[in-house]
Assembly symmetry: C2
Homo-oligomer: 430 residues x 2
């Protein structure tokens, strides 16, 4: 098996599929990763690095011998460097910039006028463009000359450089040479504003039915385009970010990060959650005397906390998706709250009865059954309330509910659950 | 504000953007949704329904007057019906089938030979195809005749219908008419197997740089294609499924589902989690005597459970992403386990010390500090173990770790945490 996998790795390195090589490198433990990396030919290393996630990439960059960089950077262009920039030490970044021609350096600087989250940073600045009064024959001429991946469209601009129309190159085939391009322009092509965020821009491109959409500035000036491959990458990155954020990590986390680094990456999230757990403990501590008298309450605490947490996370997830789709807003927020509270009431009553009966049978005490039933109902209702309100407030405050929503929610449901349960226990059972 | 939003809705309905109309309908409470639906012209209703998620769509289908369906189904094609099929009552499905011509019915039946999760169900069966010995002029002829969205490529097939090569239409422009198409074919175009799963097929299309990739059967016969819009939709659906699955819901969940239906959708997940919570309670119950003596243990229980749960979910999330990217396999599983256990050991020791000191100061008992410190360390280590092993086993058993991984993980960390903490407490504190 050892030999098999070795030959597969060699085959893979010999192949052209730089993305597969990148995925493989990310999946290898550090010592093996470095051994394989040395065997990747220098001419492929740039493309492989561009495909990798930042954390595993930075490890390889740090371990690459200085003498190799001239060869690696030989064909670097601005788009490559934009992907790599944050991973490169200052010296290497300047080295790469010095290799590129003036035009590519300008491209790099233009992109850096926009933030990472803005589409302007990642758009392609090279577009096929003609004045809006050009003819089909002009279109044929430039289409023959410059054929690039995902260029299915010629953009027309007016004298001020503003985007006016788009012509599909394929439509040139069936049109007489002398007619104006605007006669065969697409009826509607959406435009993207250069400061728009990446994930919504990406969705727009993929939905549009065009291979690429034009990007314009606030004045309508044509700045570049976003093609479907870029859109697919951005979308995948966004979803990966959301998945990782739900556990307090980021999308660049390395499967085989060095232990110290990995522990450090995760420590903050553990610390935040520890604070909320201690807060919950503090509230439980208020009822020490009750717990001492009625130890059944201590036994049943996890049930109350769990039901609130799960019900709350269902509402929270539904609202987070709604916010991402722009479907939750001030117009329907109140109706949503009422609906979620109704669902909570219904499920709360059902499960309160079930849990109440189980607790009654277990501890042979109808009062314990009653106390936990009421506490469950209260907690599921408050979970519905918190599940709607927390993400909406976070979103209004421009914070990402996918990252911090569940910590805050769990804090609320834990505290409400424990206080309701132990408080009612103190009243009825002491 | 009321009037504002009303006029916006009217504008939107008048517009051509059926996807926006679909998103709006999904975002409206049921009574408003039905009012708006009635005002959507019948000629647009089909396209709007196709864009909607299943649950909200089914509500509108049930409320649409019977007399409207003839008009709605007027222009229905097989691709529309594939989207709608699961939402339509049998009678309406047959009604729709009877409206379509023979070719479209065949298309529909072909698609239904494949499962929902297979790309064959969702691929486009209409492709521009020529025999592999065709000339550029043949390519020009069919490209002029059939120009469809996302058709940037002509597929060449041999006498057995097997896919051989692909030619970009744009390359026809700069080639003499008499040369064979195979002279200007793409060097490499990936193919997708018709039984492949949707999410990996979609990723392949978006990464490929082509507007569409050919789909072939096991024998290499050309069956259809997947274009970037379909790929974008499938990818978005997959990620939405993953997000919703993490809270035990599905991607078709309606923001404003009727309360009963919504409560029912969520009840199963609550029930499963309740069982695991009771299981944890049962383990706590084994230590009733200890809890009665040392009530501080009851107060601190949430801290132990929380730290294990959070640490475990971080490992779990990392592994789930790795499995989705095909980066976790038998070759690196052991190395991953060692790395995660090392991270767990490091974070476990750090947080055990912090929590131990806090508990010591809080309850003025060095033994309580010691007991919780050891329990935290044990729980974080077992969380790392469970976080790697659970998703790997689920994945091998063809179960989705995104759905059930976190429930099982929490059960493990809760039980290990409580037993370790209360067990050590019994030994050292009684």
């Amino acid at each position: 098996a050892e030999n098999d996998s070795a030959s597969t790795i060699e085959d893979l390195i010999a192949s052209q599929d730089v993305e597969e090589i990148a995925l493989l490198l990310e999946s290898l433990p550090l010592d093996q990763r470095l051994k394989v990396w040395v065997n990747v030919p220098n001419r492929k290393k740039l493309d492989v690095l561009v495909q990798m996630r930042a954390d595993p990439r930075e490890i390889l960059i740090a371990e690459t011998d200085e003498s190799n960089w001239t060869r690696i950077f030989e064909d670097i262009d601005a788009e490559d460097l934009l992907e790599l920039a944050d991973s490169l030490p200052r010296e290497l970044l300047e080295n790469a910039l010095s290799v590129m021609d003036k035009q590519q350096r300008q491209y790099f600087q233009n992109a850096n006028q926009y933030e990472d989250e803005q589409i302007g940073h990642w758009m392609c600045q090279d577009v096929l463009v003609l004045p809006s009064n050009a003819k089909v024959r002009d279109g044929m001429r430039i289409a023959r000359r410059e054929i690039a991946v995902h260029t299915d469209t010629i953009f027309l601009i007016n004298r001020n450089g503003q985007f006016s129309e788009a012509v599909k190159i394929i439509n040139l085939l069936s049109s007489p040479e002398h007619i104006p391009l605007s006669d065969i322009a697409e009826e509607t092509i959406p435009t993207i504003v250069v400061t728009a965020d990446c994930s919504s821009s990406a969705t727009n491109v993929l939905k549009s039915g065009f291979a690429a959409l034009p990007v314009v500035d606030e004045q309508g000036k044509l700045m570049g385009k976003v093609d479907v491959t870029t859109a697919g990458d951005l979308l995948q990155e966004y979803y990966e970010y959301q998945l990782m954020a739900s556990a307090g990590m980021d999308e660049d986390e390395d499967l085989f990060a060095p232990v110290k680094k990995s522990a450090k990456n995760r420590a903050l999230w553990l610390g935040i959650n520890l604070l909320t757990a201690f807060l919950a403990s503090w509230f439980i501590g208020l009822f020490e005397a009750t717990l001492q008298e009625v130890v059944a309450l201590a036994v049943l605490m996890p049930v109350v906390a769990s039901m609130g947490g799960i019900a709350g996370s269902q509402t929270l997830t539904l609202i987070i998706r709604g916010l991402a789709l722009d479907q939750v807003n001030s117009a329907n927020c109140r109706a949503l709250l009422i609906k979620e509270l109704s669902v909570g009431a219904l499920n709360g009553i059902v499960w309160a009865i079930v849990i109440g009966i189980v607790a009654y049978l277990w501890f042979d005490s109808s009062l314990i059954g009653l106390v936990i039933a009421v506490a469950i109902l209260m907690n599921i209702l408050s979970a519905a309330l918190a599940g709607v309100i927390i993400p909406v407030i976070l979103d209004k405050a421009k914070l990402d509910p996918a990252l911090s929503g569940s910590v805050i929610l769990t804090t609320v449901t834990d505290i409400v659950g424990f206080v309701a349960f132990l408080g009612l226990g103190t009243i009825f059972l002491l």
